[in-house]
Chain length 331, copies 2
């Protein structure tokens, strides 16, 4: 059987079983691994790969943006656990024909992101590659052990939130692929794709609130990622699609290009905002405190149900079919 | 300028300057990064990549050996700093046509190595790749902060040691490339190549000895790696080539095939034993204690001189030219 028949989820499940670990470690399956230390502090570790031809095309993203992005997506993983990102390690596998100028610009982008999030790049590996470019970024972070959030902690009745607009990034990718002319609006979407802005401060803040139960970041799309929380928590969810936050830009551009903005928001991915579930009791106070702290809303989009792994989409309260196909790296 | 003109060392130097960090961190340039903790213990982090067509060929190494090897080389990096390896993270980038059986066997090899060195695999990333397979292994370890060894700590007059025979691994690779018939001796060399045995216990033991100054592992060959110690320490070295430990197998096979075993030992690489420099005072006691503890010799092969970056090879006390070419990933 080939990998495209087996599927990414099956392969990860296989690895999880092969390398099952006992408490207090939390292994494969969350956005970062958790290594509890002795003094109430946990070490968080995440690793993310970007592969040429799969995650990026050299003519769709500048080397500087690529460097920036490989850092940003890892920062998002640490944020998703409620942690603060700290030390970083970069592996690059490079064909020998690559231009040193291109490499230096990737490095500049990494440096810019490292400064923005106050990371130290402490090492890595530089190796050859026959054809394609591979980047792998490993990021360590820390969190108070009791503040770490997992996917499996959702509770029935929890309100589901996201910390930002969904769909801009994947619409930006579409604009790049279709070579749409670069109006200000299109550039805004492309920027969301090539320079994602993760939410590490929000992650730490939410981590410190006990009424926040499950948390992760949206990297593969709301539908795909919410299902991961549901699988981990053995629960279901109801999403009111009219509540899903769409940027004015995405709505405008979708209107002009006859796109369905919800498709981008639900299946697009690479939004790198946070997806979380919160105890119903006092959730409005949390929402208000979040707005006061960050000057941005915490968007409630639905709730957790007790129907195991059942994800129901509503439109104005009525069930709708959701036939969008989501992305599998190996398909 | 293309990367093959620029060279791997130049690129790494560029990155080191871009991402220079201040004490107490030690960044790019040693076998692992060192993150000092508050309680006299340091966290060590190393990351190693294996790329299809560069580091391995699918028809030269079994998937099980490949999985084993990606772990072993990382264990060697932690050993080189005087640390104990602990938690691991695996990134795999895979073309969709890959057989799930092959993957499961890679995973079995990783598991076998993880058991051997008591590691926990806690996470990673599984992504697609257009063509080649890419594995990246990140390994965390710990060491007492005062026991951590660096490349820059060699002192003039230090005796230079290695902890094992050199050249078997690269001769094994040669045997694979030349499709030599698999006698017991050839199999021994191939095993050294596909199942390297790093020296983590020796690393911790040597780390605990203050008379051990500089240390690293031999991954790119004695010549290349010793030069790294010399560059970091701003010193030179004199190596007595007749003292370089060669296995009886390598000598026999070289004899039969008219190979020069010293070429493998000096430039071959992937030996994954330790290379260290030791204060001259009492070095014989250390050698004896090492032999008593591990039942294997600590081989002295030369000494550190004060001639900056000057590496002199002797044969029976007389200088010889060394014209072997060593491996650069990007050439």
């Amino acid at each position: 059987m080939q990998l495209n028949q087996w599927g990414e989820e099956s392969f990860i499940r296989y690895l999880s079983e092969q390398f099952a670990v006992s408490k207090p470690y939390v292994g494969i399956g969350d956005d970062a691994a958790v290594i509890p230390g002795e003094y109430g502090e946990s070490l968080l570790v995440t690793t993310d790969a970007l592969v040429e031809g799969v995650h990026f095309l050299k003519d769709h993203i500048s080397p500087r943006d690529l460097g920036y992005k490989v850092v940003a997506v890892s920062v998002s993983d640490i944020a998703a656990m409620g942690g603060t990102p700290k030390q970083a390690f970069l592996t690059v596998a490079l064909p020998k024909s690559i231009e040193s100028k291109w490499l230096c610009e990737v490095s500049e982008g990494i440096k810019e992101a490292a400064l923005q999030w106050q990371l130290l790049l402490l090492g890595g590996d530089t190796v050859g590659s026959k054809r394609d470019i591979f980047l792998n970024f490993t990021l360590l972070g820390t969190a108070k052990t009791e503040h770490v959030k997992y996917r499996k902690q959702a509770k029935p009745g929890d309100v589901i939130f996201v910390t930002g607009y969904l769909g801009d990034s994947s619409a930006g990718l579409k604009a790049l692929q279709q070579k749409l002319s670069k109006t200000a609006e299109i550039n805004h979407l492309i920027l969301a794709h090539v320079r994602p802005q993760p939410h590490p401060e929000q992650g730490v803040w939410l981590g410190a609130h006990a009424q926040v139960h499950a948390m992760m970041d949206i990297s593969d799309g709301l539908d795909c990622d919410l299902k991961r929380i549901l699988r981990a928590s053995q629960l279901g969810a109801v999403i009111e699609t009219t509540q899903i936050p769409l940027s004015a830009t995405l709505k405008d551009v979708s209107n002009i290009n006859q796109w369905d903005p919800l498709e981008y928001a639900i299946t697009g991915g690479e939004d790198y905002c946070l997806l979380l579930t919160v105890a119903r009791d006092g959730y409005k106070d949390l929402q208000e405190a979040f707005q006061n702290t960050f000057g941005q809303p915490l968007f409630d989009i639905g709730y957790i149900s007790s129907q195991t792994e059942h994800l129901l989409y509503l439109k104005d309260g009525l069930p709708i079919e959701m036939n969008y196909k989501h992305f599998d790296h190996f398909q």
